[in-house]
């Protein structure tokens, strides 16, 4: 196969070379100059512009017809406004696209060279130039104003009725967290993340356990260094790496010691997490309820993209971000609408984040309020079922290692 391709390429090059040679010879015989474009060539290219125009316009119309209904109707309230703005913009640019390309290709074709004619000496015309400064200017003013009205209503502060859900990203999956009965998220800190605490939830016991773990490691490292020195066989480089590790452990401990317990709505944030609900794989939201998503990231920048809701926001380590929306169509309704029982809304990662970036997704289910309540009640709380939680995170932990291993 490779040989075949190579052969075709080589033959093609030889063929072109031979044809060029023949062409060069005949040109010498005819005594013609390369830069003198023959009338035949000029006509051919002029006509080709027209042919191209029809092919181009035809293909564009075909694409619009076949792929124009790109996504189902927006399943969120702001998305309806976005879609309206989008349709208007697409109409506008499509019309301009056809007009300008039509003028370009027909002029190119029509005014081809004619030795008996001299081009019109037409260097400028203030009135014309004024027209094509002002018309785009006015159109842009309209688009800007309309666009910003939509933007401001999308990005304004969430109302007091809004319910919060946290979406947490890491290489390469999503976790959703619900604040529970007290409507306050438990505090989180990246220093406490571990196999049994994937989000780094801060609790008194968690802090104590983590400090104990670090203390244990510090002790072990110190012992290794002391032993090595006593034996006298430890290479310097190894000793240095142990000392580095020791320094890092001490810094880590220091950062945890610095954590402060704050109160929010009269609840301590270290205690507020006990009723938080953490889910993976899919998360549910109630229809008709305004939701404020809070995004956090563990490692690199990801982007939470939910195309069916016209929603997207980056998740940035060290900087929580927000996006509010109100879902309007339940999953069941959308399935019926599309005649597709398997349809699901989806949350995907839209900022390149590593090898398995293309596989980092979560299913979004929009329920009726009753179904949502029932589903939420089934979910375990963080404080309530620590044993169960631990088991879950462990399996996920091994999943991630498998992904990492497989991509290596």
């Amino acid at each position: 196969m490779n040989l075949f391709i190579l052969l075709v390429v080589v033959l093609a090059i030889i063929a072109i070379a031979q044809l060029t040679k023949v062409y060069d010879l005949s040109r010498t015989l005819r005594n013609s100059r390369e830069e003198e474009i023959s009338a035949a060539d000029n006509r051919l290219n002029a006509n080709a512009w027209l042919v191209w125009m029809f092919v181009f316009f035809g293909s564009v119309i075909y694409l619009y017809a076949k792929y124009g209904d790109y996504l189902p109707d927006s399943a969120s309230e702001h998305g309806v406004a976005v879609d309206k703005l989008m349709s208007l913009n697409i109409w506008l640019i499509t019309v301009v696209f056809f007009i300008v390309n039509y003028l370009l290709f027909t002029f190119a074709s029509k005014y081809r060279f004619n030795p008996n004619r001299k081009a019109k000496f037409f260097a400028h015309d203030n009135r014309l130039e004024m027209i094509w400064t002002l018309v785009p200017g006015i159109t842009m003013a309209f688009i800007i104003v309309y666009g910003l009205i939509t933007w401001n209503s999308m990005t304004g502060p969430a109302s007091s009725e809004a319910m919060q859900i946290e979406l947490y990203s890491k290489q390469f999956d999503w976790t959703a967290r619900y604040p529970g009965e007290n409507k306050v998220f438990g505090a989180c800190d990246f220093n406490l993340i571990g196999t049994s605490n994937a989000l780094g939830m801060v609790t008194e016991e968690g802090v104590a356990a983590k400090i104990a773990e670090i203390d244990h490691n510090i002790e072990a490292t110190e012992k290794a260094i002391a032993d090595g020195i006593a034996k006298g066989t430890m290479p310097d480089s190894y000793k240095e790496s142990l000392e580095d590790q020791l320094y890092k452990l001490k810094r880590h401990k220091q950062r945890i010691m610095d954590l402060k317990e704050n109160e929010m709505n009269g609840v301590s944030q270290w205690k507020a997490g006990s009723d938080d609900k953490i889910v993976k794989g899919e998360f549910h939201i109630p229809v008709g309820q305004e939701i404020e998503f809070v995004f956090r990231s563990q490692d690199v920048i990801h982007s939470a993209y939910m195309p069916h809701f016209r929603a997207q926001m980056n998740t940035v380590p060290g900087m929580p971000t927000r996006f509010k929306m109100k879902p309007t169509i339940t999953t069941a309704e959308m399935r019926q609408k599309l005649g597709n029982d398997k349809f699901d809304y989806i949350l995907l990662c839209n900022k390149v984040c590593g090898a398995a970036h293309f596989n980092m997704k979560m299913t979004v289910i929009v329920d009726s309020p009753e179904d949502y309540k029932a589903w939420l009640a089934e979910q375990k709380t963080f404080g309530g079922e620590p044993a169960k939680k631990q088991e879950e995170t462990k399996t996920e932990g091994s999943d991630t290692t498998m992904v990492v291993a497989s991509i290596k």
Partner: protein
């Protein structure tokens, strides 16, 4: 005016000083061009590799294995990390090495001294350094493809923390280090070149060459150089801070990170800061790529329509307006980063303003064609094609500039379609047009026009064939930089476009062989050129076909009129070179 007093080509030069460490702007221009063609071939090949995976995911291609080996394409299936590396290096090479270094380096070097009537660049030595930095930086970038872990893989925008942490992905190891070093050298090259271009245009214009008599190529190259000099230093600082984060334990861009089982000892930095710095260069960069192409096409369209460019002053005004606006729009790349929405609205406003000077340019091109007497040289074909890509790709920018709409198409194939058409295709068309047009000036021979036509039509059809359907893939919600789309049910209806796109990419890529053959064949075997083959007005066509050091054998030419006296009714011929004095009673333009 001549700051240089060379003895004009009378002394013999050694091979090394003539071809390798040349100070002559014409030779440096050729060095840039040939290097850029080589880099372009690499970038196109990389794109075909990843298009194979995207068009037929999971299919085995022996050719991938043959080129990439068992590590990157085991059994002929592209590896996931290798895929991201190809995407990243394709983008980097195309944006920086082909369309910035290649395009500006070639045509600024060739045209600035020749079109303003100067003996050479203000500093030939700096100019030589500019090329050598460019070459070394190109080689380092290429070498990164061969290191352990592969080349940089975080996309050409290399956002940290992904690019800052070697443990985040294999491509963030040595490959990323080389990427960063290469980029610092590239910026050095760009600054050495840019300063030289500005100084030369401002100081070394020949007698009578007022700013308002300059050809539009020179205006475009001047504004391009100014943009580069003002924005590239910001990229250097941005890159140097990233190098420090990677190697010295600083945390400019990093905070609160837990990765690979370790809570990193970095707090207080901001990954978004990087994006601000990067796009402060990154957006002007778009126009650094585009403006030279627009300048070149202005020249080619006027010459081959045998008409003055319509609205010369408006064209200058719109170049300046675009140049100015390009500095205050970078935030439109960041609507969904969590930036304050009010700042987003300011960027919506400034970004959409660019539509106005762009519209002026498009309509001025079209009016130049109107009632012209058009000769379809290959260069002219590419220039007319450029107007189409500029308009077609520019229009979708209106959607992307609108923050409310960007939310849903940000980082999808819609963006990929947009910038490949408006920036990629337009700039490469400008570059091809420029090569076909000034080849006789560079090599003293003509390129084959028949091959040129075939090359143009294949490139035009395949270019649109690749990028136009991508709008629909993107608008259906397909994220860019995905290795495989087959597991997304909602995308199934647009995924039949992917093999079609890949076919066009392969044919379009192969069509470039026509150009490469034509280019190298014509250097040695092309028909010998005459002094002014396109009957053009500008000064470069008054120099002898055989290059001489110092460009003009005798005194420097004196300029008496603007560059666009084509089909002037007061003259018999349909062109009047700039060196022809005004007739009695004739009004200067």
């Amino acid at each position: 005016m001549g700051a240089h007093t060379h003895d004009h080509g009378h002394h013999e030069e050694s091979f090394i000083s003539k071809y390798i460490f040349s100070h002559d702007h014409k030779m440096i221009s050729k060095q840039f061009l040939v290097t850029a063609i080589f880099m372009g071939v690499v970038a196109v090949m990389l794109s075909i590799f990843f298009r194979l995976q995207l068009g037929w995911p999971g299919e085995k291609f022996a050719i991938l294995n043959a080129f990439l080996g068992d590590k990157w394409a085991p059994d002929g299936i592209l590896d996931k990390n290798a895929y991201l590396a190809m995407v990243t290096i394709h983008g980097t090479i195309m944006v920086f090495f082909v369309l910035t270094g290649g395009l500006s380096g070639t045509f600024a070097n060739l045209l600035i001294p020749l079109q303003i009537g100067a003996r050479d660049m203000a500093s030939g030595f700096m100019n030589m350094l500019s090329y050598w930095f460019f070459l070394v930086s190109s080689l380092i970038m290429l070498s990164s493809l061969f290191v352990e872990g592969g080349a940089a893989s975080g996309g050409w925008t290399i956002y940290p923390p992904l690019s800052a942490l070697p443990q985040a992905m294999p491509g963030s190891g040595t490959g990323m280090t080389l990427w960063l070093i290469s980029m610092v050298l590239f910026v050095a090259s760009s600054l050495l070149g840019g300063l030289n271009y500005i100084v030369t245009i401002v100081n070394l214009r020949t007698k009578g060459m007022k700013m308002t008599r300059l050809p539009l190529t020179i205006w475009a190259l001047l504004v391009t150089a100014i943009l580069g000099v003002l924005s590239f230093p910001v990229l250097v600082s941005c890159v140097v801070l990233l190098i420090m984060d990677r190697t010295m334990g600083t945390a400019f861009y990093l905070s609160d990170i837990f990765i690979q089982g370790e809570a990193l000892d970095v707090t207080g930095g901001s990954p978004v800061l990087f994006q601000h710095l990067f796009w402060f260069l990154g957006h002007p960069e778009v126009y650094i790529v585009l403006l030279p192409a627009l300048g070149i096409s202005s020249e080619i369209i006027a010459t081959n329509s045998r008409k003055p460019i319509f609205g010369y002053k408006a064209m200058i005004g719109s170049i300046l307006a675009i140049g100015f606006l390009s500095f205050i729009v970078w935030g439109h790349h960041m609507y969904v980063t969590g930036m304050n929405p009010f700042i987003g609205s300011v960027f919506v406003f400034t970004t959409l303003l660019i539509a106005i000077p762009s519209a002026v340019k498009a309509f001025n091109y079209i009016t130049t064609l109107w009632q012209g007497n058009i000769k379809f040289t290959p260069a002219m074909m590419f220039s007319v094609g450029l107007v189409s890509t500029f308009v077609t790709g520019g229009l979708t920018g209106i959607i992307l500039a609108d923050s409310a709409l960007d939310v849903n198409v940000h980082d999808t194939y819609f963006v990929v379609a947009h910038f490949h058409i408006v920036m990629g295709m337009s700039a490469i068309f400008g570059m091809f047009g420029g090569v076909y047009h000034w080849f006789p000036k560079m090599y003293g021979r003509m390129m084959n026009s028949k091959l040129g036509y075939a090359h143009f039509w294949l490139t035009m059809v395949c270019g649109f064939g690749v990028f136009f359907p991508m709008h629909f893939v993107g608008i259906a919600g397909a994220p860019r930089r995905y290795y495989d789309y087959s597991e997304f049910e909602y995308l199934d209806k647009v995924m039949d476009l992917n093999p079609v796109i890949s076919m066009f990419a392969i044919v379009g890529g192969a069509a470039q062989l026509l150009f490469i053959f034509n280019f190298f064949h014509s250097i040695w075997y092309g028909q010998k050129s005459t002094q002014n083959p396109w009957k053009s007005n500008t000064l470069e066509w008054t120099t002898p076909v055989q290059h001489v050091h110092g460009n003009w054998p005798g005194a420097l030419p004196e300029v008496h009129r603007w560059a666009y006296d084509y089909s002037n009714p007061e003259h018999e011929e349909d062109f009047v070179p700039q060196i022809v004095p005004l007739k009695q009673g004739e009004h200067a333009h």
